[in-house]
Symmetry: C2
Subunit: 247 residues, 2 copies
C-alpha cells in the first residue's frame, strides 16, 4: 500500500440531524481541512443516538481507515452515549479520567457552579484515551486508537480539530486546476471521458451548474504530479477551445 | 415487526462533497420531508464516485430499510456512474429506457440541441426501473426495487422527491413538544435522564445551545401517543420550574 495515502471517515452522531431538526454543520469543515493537509476523507456516516449503531459503525470504519472522526453525543445528558459506545466498540472499560475530572472540577469551581453527576459524565473516557482540549467549554474530547471523538457543537468541533491536526500523519496533497466550462455536461461528456481515459493518473471531475435557465459546468482536474496535472488540464482547455470554435 | 415503522436511508454520491468543494444540501431537506410523513430516516452515508463503494452501500442499506434514496451521479459525464452501479448492486442489466430516450430526444429537439452520446447516457436505467419525472432538466431519476435514484442538484432532487412522495408507504408520525430550557445540560442532565427512564415510550432529546457565553438547551419530547407525550412533557416542565425556584 502506498504510504502517502492516508484515509479518513467521519461519523456524525445525533437523532436531531436525522429528524431534520438540526442541519449538520461539521462534515463540510472536516472535508475542507483534511483535503488541505492531504488526508483523503472517504466516507461520512450520519447515524442516530443508538448504541448498537455507534458500535457497528465505529468498528466498520476504524478497520478501513487511517483515522476516524466522530462528532456529537459527548455532553452531559442521557442521550450522550458516544464515549460508552466507542469504549464498547473497542472492548475497553469507560471510566472517569483523572485529568478530565480535574479540568472540569476546576472549571465549575471557577464559575461557582456545582459539578453535578450529569457533568461528571463528561469526564468518562475509554481506558487509555488521550484527551482533546476544548478551549470553548472545557469538557474534553478524546482519541482512542485511531478514533477521534469530538463535540457536535460546531465551534467546539472546529477547536478540537485544530488541536488534533498537528498529531495526524498527512499524505500527499493533490494539486488541482479548476476550469469554468461554458457548455453543459451533455456537450462535453464524451470528449471529457476520452481525456480521463487517456490520463488515468489524473482525476477529472465535472460539476454541473444550472443557473438562470442556463447549463454550464465546472471541470476540476486533480493529480499528485504537477506534470500530469498540467498535461491533462491543457487537454481539457484545448477541447473546450475546439468546441467554442464550433469544431 | 411493527407495520407502522417505516425506515429509510440516504446515500449521497459525490467526490466533490468529500473533498469539501461542495457543501451537501439534500440530506437536511430529505430528513425534514420524511419526518413530516412519518418515515424514519435512520442513516445517511456520503460516499465518493466509486463503483465498488456504491454497490456495497446500496446492498447494505436496501436490505435494512424500507426505502433507500440516492442523490448524485446521474448526469452525462464519465464520473456519473450511479445508474450502472445500482444496476450492478441489484444484478440487473442497465440499458436505455425507451420512454427516457423519447423524453430526452424530444427535449433536445425542442431546444435545437444535439442528443449527444453523453446525453444518451442519462436514459440508461436498470431493467424494470420506473422513471422519476424531472420537471427541471428532463433527465429522469428512477426507482428500482426499494431504491430511489435521484439527482444531486438540489432543485432537481427536491422536485424528484415531491414526485415520489405520494408513492411511499408512510408511518405513524411522532408528535413532538419543544421546551426551551434556561439551564445548561449539566444542570438538567440527571433529572432529565430520570424522566426518560420513567417514560420509555417517549423519546426525550436534549440539544445544547451555547450563545453569547451562556449555556442553555432545547428539550424535545417525542411520542406516537398524545397522552404519553403530554405526561412526559409536563414532567419536564415541572422539573424546570422546580429548578427555577431553586429546589
Amino acid at each position: 500500500m502506498d504510504e502517502t495515502i492516508i484515509t479518513a471517515a467521519m461519523i456524525v452522531i445525533g437523532d436531531e440531524i436525522l429528524s431534520g431538526r438540526t442541519r449538520e454543520a461539521n462534515a463540510h469543515h472536516l472535508a475542507r481541512v483534511l483535503t488541505g493537509v492531504g488526508i483523503d476523507l472517504r466516507e461520512v456516516r450520519i447515524i442516530g443516538d443508538d448504541r448498537h449503531a455507534i458500535i457497528e459503525t465505529v468498528n466498520a470504519l476504524r478497520a478501513r481507515h487511517t483515522y476516524v472522526f466522530t462528532s456529537g453525543g459527548i455532553g452531559p445528558t442521557h442521550d450522550d452515549i458516544t464515549a460508552d459506545a466507542v469504549g464498547a466498540a473497542l472492548g475497553l472499560p469507560v471510566e472517569p479520567d483523572p485529568a478530565a475530572v480535574k479540568l472540569l472540577t476546576d472549571h465549575y469551581a471557577r464559575r461557582g457552579q456545582e459539578f453535578t453527576s450529569a457533568r461528571q459524565r463528561m469526564a468518562r473516557v475509554p481506558e487509555g484515551a488521550i484527551l482533546i482540549d476544548n478551549p470553548v467549554t472545557t469538557a474534553p474530547g478524546f482519541v482512542i486508537a485511531n478514533v477521534h471523538v469530538m463535540a457536535g457543537v460546531p465551534a467546539i468541533f472546529q477547536a478540537m480539530l485544530d488541536n488534533v491536526l498537528p498529531s495526524l500523519r498527512t499524505g500527499r496533497k493533490l494539486l488541482s486546476d479548476s476550469i469554468a466550462c461554458p457548455f453543459g455536461e451533455g456537450v462535453i461528456g464524451a470528449p471529457l471521458g476520452a481525456i480521463q481515459a487517456e490520463h488515468p493518473d489524473a482525476i477529472i471531475g465535472s460539476y454541473p451548474r444550472y443557473e438562470d435557465g442556463r447549463h454550464w459546468a465546472e471541470i476540476v482536474v486533480r493529480a499528485a504530479d504537477e506534470k500530469v496535472l498540467e498535461t491533462a488540464a491543457a487537454e481539457v482547455r484545448s477541447m473546450l477551445d475546439a468546441l467554442a470554435r464550433g469544431e
